[in-house]
């Protein structure tokens, strides 16, 4: 199982490296959105708005990044995986890979965002920890939704519509923790909220592993 996941992840990274334009596209999307926000808001932006804006931009970039993760798999290739791998390996590999991709995206996004909109964050380690946990949660929900949406028509709309209500609980907790981190709260105060993020991610992971085989088999 672990070696299957490892091979899948390596294949994803190789593919991503060969088709760099896809990742660059999402990156450019991120930079453009931040720039649009920078132009449309005044430079002095209050902290709650800064925070919500950051997470909304991250959410849309994440949806964009994950969208292609199942769409790019053509039917023939899926059939090939079917003969080689357990379905759980595929979904787990996708989740891990998307989490890594989104973490990179998140770091880049934070950098761009901070340089345009200013840096109000007082507790940077907590903010980072929150972001990494959040990215893992996003990845597990969005990978599964992407698998569902890839089987249906008009994928992008469907992907957004299906994932918003599922991501929202996570997003609310993330925004709350990151607001605390910006305000300079200590790690210990935010442990319960971080625990909720981990719990939501865990539940999503378990559900994905149980349910993915049903989506996959044609």
């Amino acid at each position: 199982m672990l070696s299957e996941i490892g091979h899948m992840i390596r294949k994803e990274i190789t593919l991503e490296w060969r088709e760099k334009f896809a990742f660059n596209g999402v990156l450019l999307y991120l930079v453009s959105t931040v720039f649009v926000c920078y132009l449309s808001f005044a430079r002095l932006i209050d902290v709650p708005t800064w925070n919500s804006l950051f997470w909304i931009i991250m959410l849309f970039a994440a949806i964009n990044a994950v969208l292609k993760s199942f769409l790019q798999e053509r039917d023939g290739r899926l059939l090939y995986y079917y003969t080689l791998l357990r379905p759980q390996s595929i979904i787990n590999a996708k989740i891990v890979y998307n989490a890594v991709l989104m973490a990179a995206l998140g770091m880049a996004g934070l950098l761009v965002f901070v340089s345009f909109m200013g840096n109000p964050i007082q507790n940077m380690p907590l903010f980072m920890l929150n972001m990494l946990l959040g990215v893992a949660g996003f990845s597990s929900v969005l990978s599964m939704v992407s698998a569902i949406a890839s089987k249906a028509r008009n994928n992008f709309t469907l992907m957004a519509v299906l994932s918003f209500p599922l991501v929202l609980p996570l997003l609310l907790v993330l925004i709350r923790v990151s607001a605390a981190a910006i305000g300079g709260a200590g790690l210990m105060e935010e442990i319960p909220n971080l625990f909720v993020i981990v719990l939501l991610t865990g539940i999503t992971l378990v559900l994905s592993n149980i349910l993915f085989p049903y989506i996959w088999k044609e």
Binding site: V141, A152, P192, L199, L211
Partner: protein, 228 residues
């Protein structure tokens, strides 16, 4: 006798609801500041949410059954349950909004309970959109069942955990089930409140059954037309 044997629970439900409507409007209710007579809405608003949760649990159950045995009827039952649940959800939102307008001063306030309800409605509307975008019958059923299970669990966790985490909600019943815990409800109201819950759940079940028969007939007609 045949009629009584099949429909005794429907008659029972109608009688209960007539009693609830009459009793809810006429019986003595505690006079609380701000809420005043609008406290009677509890018989209707809370009943809607209980029926919705009951019917959505059924949708979950039928989706699980579908993934176990792949019977088309189970899928049809799951959709029917979701649609019925949406009806009760909308009614719950409407009764809640009218109530909120009278007691809190606006139709919508930013509150974890209300937002949880809104997210739930969005989830099930998304479920309907998903069904609309797949053509093949069995694929549609499979994807919808998977999404239903996935969404229900996350939704349930959301409405159970989040309100407890946040510092305060102006919606009553923060520590669990609104109006069910013994200290919450005035004893004078219990003799209408508990029948109300039962009555609305019976009504939801009845609606579900009628709706299911309509949808099944419609599906059979479609299949006959295709075969011609």
């Amino acid at each position: 006798m045949e009629f009584l044997k099949n429909s005794w629970w429907k008659i029972f439900g109608v009688i209960i609801l007539l009693y609830v409507i009459a009793g809810g409007l006429l019986f003595e209710a505690p006079q609380l500041p701000v809420i005043r007579e609008s406290v009677r809405n509890i018989y209707f608003h809370v009943g809607m949410w209980f029926s919705m949760m009951f019917i959505l649990f059924m949708a979950l159950f039928f989706s699980l059954l579908y993934l176990r045995y792949f019977r088309p009827d189970d899928d049809l039952k799951a959709v029917t349950a979701v649609k019925t649940g949406l009806v009760f959800g909308t009614l719950g939102l409407l009764t809640g909004m009218i109530w909120a307008h009278h007691t809190w001063g606006s139709f919508w306030v930013n509150d974890p309970k209300l937002n949880g309800a809104a997210v739930g409605m969005l989830t099930y509307l998304a479920y309907m959109v998903l069904r609309g975008s797949v053509d093949e019958q069995d694929k549609k059923a499979r994807l919808a069942a998977v999404y239903n299970i996935f969404a229900f669990v996350l939704f349930f966790v959301f409405i159970m955990i989040l309100p407890r985490l946040s510092q305060g909600s102006i919606h009553p019943g923060i520590e669990g089930n609104p109006a069910l815990s013994t200290g919450d409800l005035d004893p004078r109201m219990r003799k209408v409140f508990f029948p109300a819950i039962a009555g609305w759940i019976i009504m939801a079940w009845w609606l579900f059954r009628v709706y299911f028969r309509i949808l099944r007939l419609r599906k059979n007609i479609d299949e006959l037309n295709e075969n011609d």
